[in-house]
């Protein structure tokens, strides 16, 4: 019962977050001084002064001529029933355009996530369990370096070296598997740095816990200690980080996809912002909110699985 109440509350919270994302983005975007219809018709100003009748008719088509609150209610209703509007820039259904790019982004996001975990975990485990101080110092200095590299710079350097000079990988596109390598690397490196930092700290902390010393004195070898005791305990903070990691991946995807000319959700968002394609931008905002909400719910569900000490009793320290 308590579990049910807890989860109902969490779901209600999530719905509220989604509603808030939609509402705030609506008022920010639709309240902007610039006018996407003018933009679309004037196409950069080269077609001449706009025919007011043409502007009015398209405004009417999109419903822009109605009072803001009416537009809000209409759009909220449409959203909830799965009608996300038509792209002003490309004249096609928002969902159609988005679904075209979704798989490409999911590919690099998933692969980058896995690579980031592997790299981060690798650094954390090595740094915390090695006895060679110089190695630990080196490994601990890598994450700050990686974090201080701008993602686009990293991508451009990788393209220069591995695409244009060595011709090992293509510099654009998403059709073949080898187009994945450089973008995934670019996206994974900064993310792995954050993961490494959190995990290293966490691992080092757990190694110093009294129960580890007890286990050691009982005769457990280092490897057994690691897998049976340290790992599970150290991973908890990383789960919390999942949300931040996801944020990094989403933001990184915008830059990475633009630098590598991959047609995906990220480059699509960049283009929508550039052309003030409000329906698409709004959809992406709400989609991003949805992803965060879902991930947080999943992480919340995983906590008691990994650490039986965590119980649901009202507030959960997250």
């Amino acid at each position: 019962m308590e579990l049910l109440r807890y989860w109902s509350a969490r779901v209600a919270q999530s719905v509220f977050v989604l509603w808030a994302a939609f509402t705030v983005s609506f008022f920010v975007l639709y309240g902007l001084p610039s006018d996407p219809v003018t933009l679309m018709l004037s196409q950069g100003g080269t077609s001449g002064v706009l025919d007011p009748a043409a502007v009015a008719s398209i405004n009417h088509e999109y419903g822009f001529d109605q009072p803001l609150i009416v537009q809000y209610v209409n759009r909220l209703g449409a959203f909830v029933t799965g009608h996300f509007g038509v792209s002003i820039d490309q004249g096609q259904d928002v969902l159609t355009i988005v679904s075209r790019g979704a798989w490409s982004t999911i590919q690099i996001a998933l692969l980058s996530f896995v690579l980031a975990i592997v790299l981060g975990l690798g650094i954390a485990v090595t740094a915390s369990s090695t006895r060679m101080r110089w190695l630990r110092q080196l490994l601990q200095s890598l994450p700050p370096l990686a974090l201080s590299l701008p993602t686009f710079w990293l991508g451009l350097v990788l393209i220069q070296v591995f695409a244009f000079q060595l011709h090992w990988f293509p510099s654009f596109g998403d059709k073949t598997p080898n187009t994945l390598v450089l973008p995934v690397l670019t996206l994974a490196i900064p993310v792995s740095a954050s993961v490494a930092q959190v995990l290293t700290k966490s691992f080092l902390g757990v190694w110093r816990q009294p129960f580890v010393q007890v286990a050691q004195s009982k005769g457990f070898g280092r490897r057994q200690l690691l897998s049976k005791h340290v790992l599970r305990n150290a991973v908890i903070p990383a789960l919390t980080m999942a949300g931040i990691t996801l944020g990094q991946l989403l933001a990184g995807a915008v830059i990475t996809e633009t630098v590598f000319s991959r047609p995906g959700l990220g480059s699509m968002t960049q283009r929508a912002v550039q052309t003030q394609d409000i329906p698409v931008v709004q959809f992406m905002v709400v989609l991003a909110a949805l992803v965060f909400v879902v991930v947080n719910l999943v992480v919340d569900a995983l906590y008691p699985v990994i650490d039986p000490r965590i119980r649901r009793r009202g507030l959960v320290a997250a």
Partner: protein
């Protein structure tokens, strides 16, 4: 100590990466000439920036180069235009007659022309196309300005079609050569506009659409059985390449790198700063002068400048267009010598009326009663000499730099040019209401009719000059009713002379577009409006 060691290791790694990145590019020597034998097959890749310009493939709705280039590969037009001479030559139409009053155009179509779905290109098909364009009305953003006064199309017989206007339209013949009037199969004309915008139609061009992703890539396949090339084409029959791919690449330096590395064949919108390394790497630059209205300051005749001829003359004398173009745009641009670009049919060189002379500018302003104020900007009767140009500071990198130079040159003689950065909607509002002093604008068209669009006192949608009725109207009418090219050019020369003498138009530069291609690309050529034509291209198989 360990920190120092790790730093050293890192420095070494970075150094290696930088060294690798700095290595010279491929050492391919440039092909000496294109006289090699064309090779069939392969894929030709061309890159440019898509956002904002690839929004649809529906021909009459398009105004941007890039989209028109794609449509050009998918469709044919009634006529073509020779880029060297400006002459109109046969394509789908073999001959034509223009009435002396330029109100009636009759075309004879060639035999056996078909769309890729097998439908014949006959007079009925042409009529169906133009009926649809008429029905689109203002939505035909590209075609509508070229159809002012158009009353309709008549099928005279199977191979003869007639277009009629209610007023003289001297620009129509040249306009028909554009991809804006690319022909679509009548079977597809009734389709939903959204489908046509996605390229879901059969044209009669050398390529057919395989896939259209306005986000990233447009794939075209060779059309087998193509046999209606323009009389300007370099070969007949099918296109050489199997696939033609247009690739989205928003970063100019990356486009240059892709050409250098051989990943693509050619790229558009080459930035000035990439030109020397492209040349050094063995690529060929193709700078093409753009015909039409050159970048110029169009004086708003409704503003205070309309009654201040000396101020306008001072503007002409105060601007050093040679320095601006050389500094910002490089050698492919030239100084402004007329309101029309130097390769526009009908262009007249007015450089004798334009000379950079800041002293003369200052003298003129003194004569007109504009006295320098404390901040160096001149004043008269309490009003500052400020020229408001909507959005002049908002036009992107190179144009922004040019605007800064322009502002500095004008400041030197005491004229204030604020670098207005307002957004598109605000600019539109200013332009619609006439609340500005001058508009900086340009328009590509291989025809002098652009002058009429801007300076006719019967205000058109491009009437940024808010022209008042006067002698210019007569000169423009003479230009627009002349069908013979030589007579038209003579009439247009009078228009240009009038515009520059009275400083209603302040030319800023003679523009060019620069393309680049590498040694794997052959057969690339440009049409009369600097769009690339891909029908004759072939690729070295590598």
């Amino acid at each position: 100590m360990p920190i120092k060691k790790s730093l050293a290791a890192l420095a070494g790694t970075v150094a290696v990466l930088v060294a690798l990145a700095g290595c010279a590019g491929s050492g391919d020597s440039p092909k000496s000439s294109d006289s090699a034998t064309p090779v069939s097959g392969g894929t030709y890749k061309h890159a440019f920036s898509f956002p904002g310009v690839i929004t649809s493939l529906d021909p009459p709705t398009l105004i941007f180069h890039e989209a028109l280039q794609v449509v050009r590969a998918l469709t044919d037009s009634l006529v073509d235009q020779d880029p060297k001479t400006g002459e109109i030559v046969p394509w789908i139409a073999t001959k034509w007659e223009v009435s002396p009053d330029a109100k009636t155009y009759t075309f004879t179509l060639r035999d056996g022309a078909t769309f890729s779905d097998g439908t014949p290109i006959d007079a009925a098909a042409v009529k169906a196309n133009f009926d649809r364009i008429q029905a689109l009305g203002p939505k035909a953003v590209g075609a509508a300005p070229l159809l002012i006064g158009f009353t309709g199309t008549t099928v005279v017989d199977k191979k003869t079609v007639k277009f009629e206007f209610s007023q003289p339209s001297a620009l129509f013949l040249q306009a028909l050569s554009g991809a804006v009037f690319g022909l679509i199969s009548p079977k597809d004309l009734t389709k939903d506009p959204a489908a046509i915008a996605k390229g879901d139609y059969a044209g009669s061009g050398p390529f057919t659409l395989k896939s259209y992703n306005p986000q990233s890539e447009i794939d075209l396949d060779k059309r087998v059985g193509y046999d209606t090339p323009s009389s300007l084409a370099k070969h007949t029959g099918d296109a050489y390449v199997d696939h033609l791919v247009f690739i989205e690449e928003g970063t100019p330096s990356k486009r240059a790198d892709q050409v250098l590395s051989g990943e693509i064949q050619s790229a558009a919108q080459i930035a000035y700063q990439d030109e020397s390394r492209l040349k050094a790497g063995g690529a060929t630059l193709l700078p093409l002068k753009i015909p039409g209205l050159t970048e110029n300051l169009i004086i708003n005749q409704k503003s205070f400048l309309g009654s201040e001829p000396k101020v306008r003359q001072a503007l002409l004398a105060a601007i050093d267009t040679a320095t601006i173009t050389k500094t910002v745009f490089g050698p492919s641009y030239g100084p402004g010598t007329s309101s029309l670009g130097s390769n526009t049919p009908g262009y007249a060189d007015e450089s004798s009326l334009i000379s950079y002379n800041p002293k003369k500018a200052k003298a003129l302003l003194d004569e007109a009663g504009w006295v320098p104020g404390a901040d160096g900007i001149r004043e008269k009767d309490g009003k500052k000499l400020t020229i408001r140009v909507p959005g002049i500071g908002a036009w992107g990198a190179s144009n922004g730099d040019a605007a800064v130079l322009l502002q500095a040159q004008l400041k030197e003689v005491g004229i204030d040019l604020p670098l207005d950065k307002s957004d598109s909607a605000t600019q539109q509002a200013a332009l619609a209401s006439g609340d500005y002093d001058a508009d900086k604008w340009q328009m590509t068209r291989a025809d002098p009719s652009v002058l009429n669009a801007v300076w006719n006192s019967k205000h058109t949608s491009q009437g940024y000059a808010w022209a008042q009725p006067g002698p210019l109207d007569d000169l423009l009418a003479a230009q627009e009713s002349e069908v013979d090219p030589k007579a038209r050019a003579a009439a247009s020369a009078k228009v240009q002379e009038y515009l520059i003498k009275n400083a209603w138009s302040i030319p800023l530069d003679d523009r060019a577009w620069t393309y680049a291609y590498n040694s794997t690309a052959h057969g690339l050529r440009a049409d009369a409006e600097t769009k690339l034509v891909f029908y004759d291209v072939w690729v070295d198989s590598k």
